[in-house]
Amino acid sequence: MVVPLISIILLAPLVAFAIFALSGIAKRTFPRQDLLSTAAMLIALICSFILLRDVVPEPEPLAVDWISIGEITISMGFYLDSVTVIMLIVVTLVSSLVHIFSIGYMHGDPRYPRFFAYLSLFSFSMLFLVVSDNLLGIYIGWELVGLCSYLLIGFWFEKNSAANACKKAFLTTRVGDIGMFIGMMMLFTKFKTFSLFDGAQDGIFTRAAAELATGDIVWLSIAGILIFCGAIGKSAQVPLHTWLPDAMEGPTPVSALIHAATMVAAGVYLTARMFPILTFPSSLVIAYVGGITAIVAATIAIVRFDIKRVLAYSTVSQLGYMMLAIGAGSYVAGLFHLTTHAFFKALLFLGSGSVIHAFHAMHSHSQHTHGHDEAHADDEAHEHDDLSLVHENLVHEHGSEIPPDQDMRNMGGLRQKMPITFITMLIATLSISGVPFIFSGFWSKDKILAGVLGRAMEWNSIHHYILFGLALCAAFITAFYMFRLIFMTFFGEPRNKEMHNMAHESPWVMAAPLIILAVLSFPVVNTIWFNKDYVIPPKQPHLHAPQHASVSPDTKTGDAKFGFSFFGVSEAQAADEVGGKNGEKADAAYYIYKRAHNIAMALSIFVAGLGILLSWLFYHRRRFSAESVATTFRPVYNLFWHKYYFDEFYDGVLVALTVWKSRLFARFDLSVIDGIVNGVGFATRRVFAAIIGYFDRRVVDGIVNRVAEVTWAAGGRIRRIQTGAIQTYLFVVIGGIVLIILIFRAL
C-alpha cells in the first residue's frame, strides 16, 4: 500500500503541472488549472492521511538503483518514518488550504492558471524532498523548491522589486547550497553512498558510526556544518537570511506556503534528518546560528511597518528557534515547533493576505491598475500618521518601498470590518506568542526552551545557558512585536479613512482556510509528538559531551525547588528528552530535564506575558511612546531599522566585488588573452620590427620586395612575348624544337 500511495502523492501535483506545461507548449492554456491543481493537492492530502496508518518509526527505505557505474551504485528511494509522514501531512494540508485560499485571492490575475501550476510544481518538489531517503534526492527536491520559490516570488515580474527579490532568493540560497553540496561530496567520497538509511547497502549513518567509532570527529563536524550551510540558506538563517523578507514581493499565499510553512522549514527538516551524524562542534554551530538568528530577526521585526515583512522576520526568528532546538539536541522539540509553526504562521500570512486583499480591492477600484504592485509611496496616507513622523527621514530610505496596502500605518480598527480574519489571526498570534496551555505554539516553544535549558544543566555548559538566554529573549520580543502587529492592524482608530471604508471581509474561499488553520493552532496535533511509540528521536553516536559535563547527583531533587508541574506534562517531556517511556524515572538526567522544564515553562509564561503587556501599553493604551523610545536609543533603533546592515554589506561589498571581478576577467580576456593572440600577428609585424626593424626592413623585407619587383618587371617584359599572333608562337615552338634537337645532337 505504501508505494502506490506515495506515488499518488508525488504524481498528482506533478501531473497537474505537466498538464499546464504541455498545454503551454501547445499554446492553449488548460481552462481550469485552479481546480485541477487543488484537486491534485486534495488527493495527495487524503493519501497522506491514509499513509499515517501504515507507518512504522524505523522503516526500510524503498529504493531503486538509479545509477550504477562499476562498483558505485547510487540509489533513489523513499524513506517513510513517522516524521516523514507528519511532514507529508503538514505540507499537503497547508498546500491544499493555500490552493483554496488562492482561488479567491488570485482571482482575476492575468496569469491565474500559471500560479496554480507553479504551486503544484512546488508541492511536488517539497513532497519529493520530504520523502527522499538519500542526500542526492533531498538535494534535488531542495533545488527544485528553490526554483519554485524563484518562480513564485517573481510571479509579478513586471515589478522590478519582485524581479530583484526572486533573483536574490535563488542566488542567496544557492550560496548555501554549494556548502551543502561540498558536504555531500565529502560524505560521498568517504562512504561511497548518498543513502542515509540502511537498505540494500549500509547507509551513511551506519557507515559513519562504524568508521568513526575511533573518535575522529573533526572531519565529520566539517561535513555536518557544510550540510547545515544548505539549511542556512534555505531556512534563512543568519547570515543568509536577507532574501526571505524580500521574498514577500511574491503573492501572499506563496509567502504563506513557501516562505512560512514548508520550504523554509525544509532546512530544519534536513538538519533533523542529519541528526545522527551531528557532532558536538557542529551541533553547537547549528545552535548558535539558530539562536542568533532568532534574536536578530526578532529585533528587526519590531521596527517594521510592512505587515508581511513583520511576519517574514518573525518566520526567520522562529526558524532560528527550531535550529536552536535541533542544535541543542532536542530533535522532537524542533520538529514539533516546525509543525505548529507551519500552521499558525500560514494562518498569519493568509490573514495578512486577507487584509491586503481587502485593501487591494479598494486599490483596483480607485486606480484601475494591478493593485499589488503600487511601488510609489502614498505620502498623503502617511501625513496624519503620528507613528510615521519620527521615521520620516527613514521612510524615504527604506519605508518608501512598502506598498500602501501592506503598510500597517494605513490600517487600524479593522476588527469590526473583518471579524473572521481578526479572530483567526488573534488565535495565531496568541499561539506564536506562547500564551499558555490552550495554544499549540506554547507547547512547542516550551519544549524547545526546556530542551536547551536541560542540555545546559545536564552538561553544565555555558554555551547552552547563553543559548537559553537568547531563546528566552527572542520569546519575549516575539510576543511584543506580534501583538504590536495585532494592535496596529485591528485595534484603535482607522488611520486611513478612505482605505478603511473600502475594506471588507474576504469571501468564503479565503475565510474557510483561515478557520481550518485557526483550529489547527490549538494543540490538536500535539498528541502525535508525545507518542513515544510513534516518534523516536535518532541516536547521536558522534555527539560526545564536553569533558566538564557531568550530572551532579544533587540535581536529582531538583524538581522539589519548583514544586509545580502542569498536568504532569513536565514529567512526560523530561522523559521524552532522555528517551524513556512515560513514568520511567530511571536516571539522573530525567530529573535534570524535569527540573529544567519547570523552570523553562515558568520563564516562558513570564516573558510572553511581559511582551504582551508591554505591547499593550505601547500600542493600544499609548501609555508609552514608541517614538520617544526610538529617539532615545537612536543607534540601536537605526541598527534594527537597517536590518543590521546585512543588505548594505552584501550589495556594497560582495555583489560589487563579484561584478567587479567579472568585469576584470572579461577585460583580461579581451585585452590580455585575446591580445596575446592578436599580438602574435602584431608582434611579428610591429613589435618585432621595432626591435630588429632595420634588419627586417632592409634584409627580410628587402628580399621580399626585391623578389616581388623582379617578378613584376619580368612579368611586364615577358608578357610582351604573348603577342597573341599564332605565328610567333609557332616560330618559338619550331625554333625551340630545332634548337633542342641540335643541342642534344651536339651533346
Binding site: K27, I67, I69, E143, F157, L171, T189, T658, D669, I676
Partner: protein
C-alpha cells in the same frame, strides 16, 4: 556497414544538393532535412541495438586498406561514448537544418551542401578507429566550418572565421606531429600501424616503445593542445566567443553542440585511452604539474563563469558559459575515477543539448529583434510566455538545477574530482554560484521587469522553432530524471578507463 552508411549519407546528400538547381530553395532544404534525418534514424537504431554489457567497439566496418604505403585504413566502429555523441550529432543535424529554414538569405544551396559535409566529418570523427582517418575527419570539419562562419556570419565574420581556422590549425599541426611520432614508434618499418585499438594495446604493453612514459608525456602534450583548442581550454579559448557571435544560429548550435565535444572526445579516446602514462603525469595530484589538468579545469570553470557574468551580448554570454561548462569536463576527466569520467562524459552530452538549446533560443530572439544586447530587452516574459518558459528551462538546466540534465554531469564531475583534488573542486564550486548569477541576471534583464515598449508587438515563438527545441527539452528532462539510460551506454568503457588509470597511478605511488 550501417555505420559507414550513416557517416556517408550526408555526403550523398551534399552531392544531391549540389545537383539541384540553385533556385529551388525549398527543395534544397527538404533534401537536406531528409539526408540529416536518415543518420538520426540510424543513430537511434544503433543506440537501441548497442550491446551495453561489453566495452569494446561494435558495429565495426573495416579495416579496408586505404593508403597502403603507410598502412592507413578505413576502419570505423563505435563504443558507448561514440554512439552517445553520434546520437547527439545526428539529432542536432535536422534541428540545425530546421533552424536555418528561414534565416539564411543567400546561397542556401552552398550552405546546405557545406553543412552536410560538416555532418559527415563530425560523424566520421566519432566513429573512426584509424588514427589517420580520425585526423582526416577532424580536419574535414574545419573547412566547412570556416566557410559557414566566413560567408554566412555576422559583420565581423571574416575575422572570426580566420581566427577559428588559425587557432584550430595551430592545434592540428601539433597533433599531426604527435600522430606521426606515434606512427613511427608503433613498430619497425613495414609493421607500423595507425589502427587505434592496436595502438592502445601496444601502448599498454610494457616494454613496447609506445609505453614509455616520457614518450607518452610528449605525445600527450601534442594531442592535448590539439584538442584543447577545440574544447576550448584556457588560454586557447578566445576564438570561441568571436566565432559564436559571428556564426549564424545553426552553426553556433553545431559549434557548441558537437565541435567542442570533438575536443573532449579526443581527450578521452586518444589522450586517456592511448596515453594513460602521459595522462598520469598531469593528473596524479602531485605538485603543480600533477595537478595541471585539474587546474586547467578549475580555471576554465571560474574564468569562463566570471567572464560570462560581465557580458552584455546574449550570444557571447552563452559562449563564455560554454567555456565554463567545458571546464567541468576537464575536471571530471582529470579525476580519473568512475564518477568523474562518467560525469565528464555526461556533461559533454548534456552541454551539447543544453547549449544547443540556448543558441537556438538566442537565435529566435535575434530573428525577431535583430540585436542581442541583453540590456536592450526587458519584460519579454509578459509578451512571450512560451518562449520565456522554454528559456527558463534551458537556463535552469544550464545552471545545473537538479532534475534537469545539466546537474548530473556537473555534480558527478565535481564529486569525482573531489576525491582526487578536494581543494580545487571546492574552489570550482564558485563557478556554480556565478553560473546561477549570470543566468538569473540575464533572465531578469531580458524577461522580467516592465515590458520594453519597443517590443510590444514582438511575435511569440512559432511552431517550427518550438519543433527544434522540444526534442532537446525532452532530452534535458529525461536525462535529468533517468540519466542511467545514457550512463549504461558507456559505463563499461568508463570502468575500463578507470581500471587502467588507477593501475598506473597506484604503480606510480
Amino acid at each position: 556497414m550501417l555505420l559507414s552508411l550513416m557517416i556517408f549519407v550526408p555526403l550523398i546528400g551534399m552531392i544531391v544538393v549540389l545537383l539541384l538547381p540553385r533556385e529551388s530553395e525549398e527543395m534544397i532544404k527538404r533534401v537536406a532535412l531528409v539526408f540529416t534525418l536518415v543518420p538520426l534514424i540510424i543513430a537511434v537504431y544503433l543506440f537501441i541495438d548497442y550491446d551495453r554489457t561489453i566495452a569494446g567497439k561494435q558495429f565495426r566496418h573495416g579495416p579496408v586498406p586505404w593508403i597502403e604505403a603507410f598502412n592507413i585504413q578505413y576502419f570505423v566502429g563505435i563504443d558507448g561514448l561514440s554512439v552517445t555523441l553520434m546520437l547527439l550529432t545526428a539529432l542536432l543535424g535536422p534541428i540545425c537544418v530546421l533552424a536555418s529554414w528561414r534565416n539564411i538569405d543567400k546561397g542556401i544551396k552552398a550552405y546546405m551542401a557545406l553543412f552536410l559535409l560538416l555532418e559527415t566529418g563530425m560523424l566520421g570523427f566519432f566513429a573512426a578507429l584509424d588514427l589517420f582517418l580520425f585526423f582526416v575527419f577532424f580536419e574535414l570539419t574545419l573547412l566547412p566550418m570556416y566557410f559557414l562562419i566566413g560567408v554566412w556570419g555576422g559583420p565581423r565574420r571574416e575575422y572570426a572565421a580566420i581566427k577559428f581556422f588559425l587557432y584550430t590549425l595551430f592545434g592540428s599541426v601539433l597533433m599531426l606531429v604527435a600522430l606521426i611520432a606515434v606512427y613511427l614508434k608503433s613498430g619497425d618499418p613495414g609493421a607500423r600501424t595507425f589502427e587505434i585499438p592496436e595502438l592502445i594495446r601496444l601502448a599498454s604493453d610494457p616494454g613496447h616503445a609506445l609505453a614509455d612514459s616520457t614518450f607518452q608525456m610528449w605525445v600527450f602534450i601534442g594531442f592535448f593542445i590539439g584538442f584543447a583548442v577545440k574544447v576550448p581550454i584556457f588560454p586557447f579559448h578566445t576564438w570561441l566567443p568571436d566565432a559564436h557571435v559571428e556564426a549564424p544560429t545553426a552553426i553556433s548550435v553545431i559549434l557548441a553542440g558537437v565541435l567542442l565535444k570533438m575536443g573532449t572526445y579526443g581527450l578521452v579516446r586518444i589522450n586517456m585511452d592511448m596515453f594513460p602514462e602521459g595522462m598520469a603525469v598531469f593528473a596524479n595530484g602531485d605538485g603543480i604539474v600533477g595537478n595541471s589538468l585539474a587546474i586547467l579545469g578549475f580555471v576554465n570553470i571560474v574564468y569562463g563563469s566570471f567572464c560570462a557574468l560581465a557580458q552584455t551580448d546574449f550570444k557571447k554570454l552563452v559562449a563564455y558559459s560554454s567555456i565554463g561548462h567545458m571546464g567541468f569536463v576537464i575536471l571530471g576527466l582529470a579525476a580519473g575515477n568512475e564518477l568523474g569520467i562518467t560525469g565528464a562524459i555526461l556533461q559533454m552530452f548534456n552541454h551539447g543539448v543544453i547549449s544547443a538549446m540556448l543558441f537556438l533560443l538566442v537565435g529566435v530572439l535575434y530573428d525577431r529583434a535583430h540585436h542581442r544586447e541583453i540590456n536592450g530587452f526587458g519584460g519579454l516574459g509578459s509578451r512571450m510566455p512560451v518562449y520565456t518558459g522554454i528559456t527558463t528551462l534551458a537556463f535552469m538546466a544550464s545552471l545545473g538545477l537538479p532534475g534537469l540534465s545539466g546537474f548530473i554531469g556537473e555534480a558527478f564531475s565535481l564529486i569525482g574530482a573531489f576525491e582526487s583534488f578536494p581543494m580545487l573542486t571546492i574552489l570550482s564550486t564558485i563557478g556554480i554560484v556565478v553560473g546561477a548569477a549570470y543566468f538569473l541576471w540575464t533572465l531578469q534583464r531580458v524577461f522580467l521587469g516592465t515590458l520594453n515598449p519597443k517590443y510590444e508587438e514582438l511575435p511569440e515563438i512559432n511552431g517550427r522553432e518550438i519543433l527544434t527545441l522540444v526534442p532537446l527539452g525532452i532530452l534535458v528532462i529525461v536525462l535529468g530524471i533517468w540519466p542511467h539510460f545514457a550512463i549504461e551506454m558507456f559505463s563499461e568503457s568508463v570502468v575500463n578507463l578507470t581500471t587502467k588509470m588507477s593501475g598506473i597511478l597506484q604503480a606510480g605511488l
